[in-house]
């Protein structure tokens, strides 16, 4: 934790007395409702002492949109009450002249463009490349907050791995009636082919990206577990690199925990999963190819780890051994970090119309000659209906209380809860379990009576397919919008690795809904990202 500077605020910001009499440029003076309020964070020698109240400019002269609402704000505890760990950031930022801020913003954009951190937008004009929107202000998490998140995520991935091992083998948790059989077996990501299979080190989920949000009381809760092929980690790494270049001094003063070791840790995790008797395993990253929107990330990770980026057509399976085609002949592959969904990975075992995988790969996997990370069938544990059982799963396997809670979830398969959902459709968010990206969703507060009626029918027809959650306003963090700081909703996706042990690089990807009031952080719908600083 950094110590707060002991100097007075007005001195620190370098106000010139004559100028401030006309226009105070510091952000704290522009806060809504701060006309007669205290100046933060250090009130001993505030503007009130320096200037007679009559000379102050009215609010209208300084456009300022930082208005708090009921959502948790990352920077302000209350109106005019700055959270201590955001002090130096706000101070640094306020001291920068406006054109300097814009210059640094442009430098950051250019840096992304030059590094090729772009996604391709296909339309009539072929090959228009856009950068992933990026916000200049870091999101700051204190070390106490982080250690709880870290404990919670470690607990969660451990329990979910045990759960996967259990349901694909003995099924104790099903026999004991903790999780209903029908929830597991009716899940579209349940893979019967995995039954009775011993996976290396019993690790099903080697890489996961869990979406966390902060409730109004500031508690981190889990919104979603992504246990199949989570993406976005390349943005976490490149955001940091750019941030260090743009704000070196600020970064140093903050004592931020490093994240650059991620690729090395990922490589180590993959290596630890290699089949027995392969001391120098050949590790590859399997990508669906250049048309996939995450292709940049695949290429980036492969390059950073120094492993080969392969596509399905590069792989051949012969006698249950997987090889890649190289110019010097076939080379055996031991570990595949796959970024291709279960369905597409082997046309013989899964979807027969897929050309993204390699025929026979699943058999090679079954035979133990090649490891895939993540394993097949992990999607059953991030099913939206199963999600509601995760706290019970944690209690069952670890005999511990969950460190990180779930968002309150109503399962439409349970009669009582279904009745509650049907009676309160106008207040709840209803989600289809198999869908993602905002499809098949009803946001009660923004819906029409007709839509609700339609959804009620759907829920009654297929209760297994629907869950409901209360409308939650996740926390907001300051973002640079134009020339102003404005609050925007953010989530957090830390990346958890599980090989020999669980490792989580401190931080993750903070996604921002850049549109005012929006809760959608998805990049295709006006979302962006920002660097996440975990303090040491």
């Amino acid at each position: 934790m950094m110590s707060a500077p002991a100097r007075s605020h007005s001195f620190d910001f370098g106000h010139d007395r004559h100028l401030t009499a006309l226009l105070c440029s510091c952000y704290c003076c522009k806060l809504a409702g701060s006309a007669v309020g205290r100046h933060f964070p250090y009130t001993e020698s505030s503007m009130d002492d320096i200037l007679p109240p009559a000379t102050r400019q009215p609010q209208a002269a300084t456009p300022w949109n930082y208005k708090l609402d009921h959502a948790f704000d990352e920077m302000f505890a209350a109106q005019n009450e700055l959270r201590e760990h955001y002090g130096p950031l706000l101070e640094h930022f306020t001291a920068l002249p406006q054109d300097e801020v814009q210059r640094r913003k442009q430098a950051a954009d250019l840096s992304f463009l030059n590094q090729g951190i772009t996604f391709t937008v296909y339309g009539r004009e072929e090959g228009t490349e856009k950068i992933f929107p990026y916000d200049l202000l870091p999101r700051i998490i204190t070390s106490a907050e982080w250690s709880k998140v870290e404990r919670g995520l470690t607990q969660r991935i451990t329990a979910l791995n045990l759960f996967l091992k259990d349901i694909y083998n003995e099924g104790r948790i099903l026999k004991d009636g903790i999780v209903p059989r029908e929830i597991v077996y009716s899940c579209q990501h349940f893979r019967r082919q995995m039954s009775g299979l011993q996976v290396p080190r019993n690790v099903y989920i080697a890489v996961c990206g869990t979406d966390l949000i902060r409730l109004e009381n500031g508690d981190f809760v889990v919104l979603e577990d992504n246990l199949r092929v989570p993406s976005g980690v390349s943005y976490m790494l490149t955001n940091r690199r750019v941030m260090k270049r743009i704000f070196p001094q600020l970064f140093r003063n903050y004592n931020v925990k490093p994240i650059e070791q991620y690729t090395q840790l990922l490589l180590g995790t993959l290596r630890s999963l290699a089949p027995e008797g392969r001391p120098e395993p050949n590790i590859v990253l399997l990508s669906p190819g250049v048309f996939n929107s995450a292709y940049f990330e695949h290429a980036y990770l492969a390059r950073q780890m120094g492993i080969e980026l392969v596509e399905g057509r590069d792989l051949v399976v012969h006698d249950n051994v997987c090889y890649m085609r190289t110019t010097s002949g076939l080379r055996r592959v031991d570990v595949i970090y796959r970024r291709v969904d279960d369905d597409f990975i082997d046309p013989l075992s899964f979807r027969s119309d897929s050309i993204l995988g390699a025929a026979g790969l699943f058999n090679a996997y079954r035979a133990g000659n090649v490891t895939l990370a993540n394993a097949f069938g992990t999607g059953v544990a991030d099913d939206k209906a199963l999600y509601a059982y995760v706290p019970d799963i944690i209690r069952y396997y670890l005999s511990e209380e969950p460190v990180l809670n779930n968002v309150e979830t109503f399962l439409c398969t349970r009669e009582k809860e279904r009745n509650y959902v049907l009676a309160n459709l106008d207040k709840l968010v209803v989600k289809a379990v198999g869908e993602s990206g905002g499809y098949g969703m009803l946001i009660g507060t923004q819906s029409t009576a007709k839509e609700r009626e339609l959804f009620a029918e759907k829920i009654k027809a297929n209760p297994r397919n629907y869950i409901a959650q209360p409308t939650i306003s996740f926390s907001r963090a300051p973002c640079l919008i134009g020339d102003e700081l404005e609050p925007r909703h953010v989530d957090l996706r830390p990346y958890v690795l599980y090989g020999d042990k669980v490792t989580i690089v401190p931080g993750g990807l903070t996604r921002v809904a850049l549109k005012r009031g929006s809760l959608v952080v998805n990049s295709s719908q006006g979302g962006g990202s920002k660097d996440t600083w975990v303090l040491s």
């Binding site: 290429a299 596509e311 051949v316 012969h318 110019t327 010097s328």
Partner: protein, 328 residues
């Protein structure tokens, strides 16, 4: 190196070489057109199409600007210049992490430039008015961009296996383009050795040399005194000029040997043999002997050997049967 990567680099390079070659032929012929009567022009444009291998969908209809436009921009024609650039860029995109950022940016900006609709429109207006300077400036830019790409490739990419595959693609394409060019000119230049020059062949011969950027280099060796035998000797057998057939084959063989050393293929004997034989036969050939025989036959022979080299490369490095690879 992955076979797929080698394949993409090879084709990226071939397509760029092809685009450059077509651009140059077009540029040279548009220039020559200004100096001659419309009657002889039919013959020359048909000959240019023959030198490009008579691309499907491309017909001579008497309007050189229309032909130029189609040859440059018609993306329904796979051998148009823009089609080649698109194909090259697509191949580069698939191996984006294997080439340098500088290479990618150069190729990508060329691609963005040639696919801008305004460029096509501007060329159309000029062609209709026949008043503007014509597409010459655009064609010059195109060739420059390809040359810059080659320069950037040489100075920013490791000269490892991938770079060698780029060389293989470039020189195989260049050899095959030169073979077609010589064949197209055969009827006019070498088929009647006893014919006395009428005096107006000079422009035509100069055009042939320019089509291979060889005019200045030729003059340094033989002075500006152009004769059919010397032209053939220079374009076919010169050991130092980078567009001569012999130079292309020598470079090709060099790159293949480097690849073989790097990939440690023991089964590369066949490839060595055919590439080495072709290289040696060009090294020890004499132009008089070639002209005494049937030149077209001779050129066809070279083409067959180039094809064999291409197939053997594929069989060895890219599309090999699994059983053979497992055996050794």
């Amino acid at each position: 190196m992955l076979s797929r990567v080698a394949d993409s680099l090879y084709w990226m390079s071939r397509y760029l070489e092809r685009a450059e070659h077509a651009t140059r032929l077009l540029d040279v012929n548009l220039n020559l057109m200004l100096d001659e009567s419309p009657t002889s022009s039919d013959h020359r444009w048909l000959r240019m199409l023959a030198a490009l291998g008579n691309p499907k969908r491309l017909k001579w209809n008497g309007n050189p600007y229309e032909l130029a436009r189609n040859l440059t921009f018609d993306t329904s024609n796979k051998s148009s210049v823009v089609s080649c650039i698109i194909a090259a860029r697509e191949n580069a995109r698939q191996v984006r992490e294997q080439i340098s950022t500088e290479q990618w940016q150069k190729l990508n900006s060329l691609y963005i430039e040639v696919t801008r609709p305004e460029v096509k429109r501007a060329m159309q207006i000029e062609a209709n008015a026949e008043s503007g300077e014509g597409p010459t400036a655009f064609l010059q830019e195109m060739m420059e961009a390809v040359h810059q790409f080659q320069g950037v490739t040489d100075s920013t990419m490791s000269h490892g296996e991938g770079w060698q595959f780029i060389q293989v693609g470039r020189y195989l394409e260049r050899a095959s383009g030169m073979r077609l060019l010589l064949e197209a000119y055969h009827g006019d230049v070498w088929s009647h050795p006893d014919r006395v020059p009428e005096g107006n062949e000079y422009l035509d011969w100069m055009g042939l040399l320019r089509s291979a950027t060889a005019f200045e280099a030729y003059c340094k060796v033989y002075t500006a005194d152009l004769t059919p035998e010397r032209i053939l000797e220079f374009l076919l057998l010169d050991s130092e000029f980078p567009h001569s057939l012999r130079f292309s084959i020598d470079s090709l063989q060099c790159a293949l040997q480097a690849i073989q050393e790097k990939s440690g293929k023991t089964r590369a004997e066949e490839l060595n043999r055919i590439a080495g034989r072709l290289s040696a036969s060009l090294g020890f050939a004499s132009v008089d002997e070639i002209l005494m025989g049937d030149l077209v036959d001779y050129l066809h022979g070279i083409q067959r050997q180039c094809q064999a080299i291409h197939q053997t490369i594929y069989h060895l490095y890219v599309d090999y049967p699994i059983q053979a690879a497992l055996a050794g």
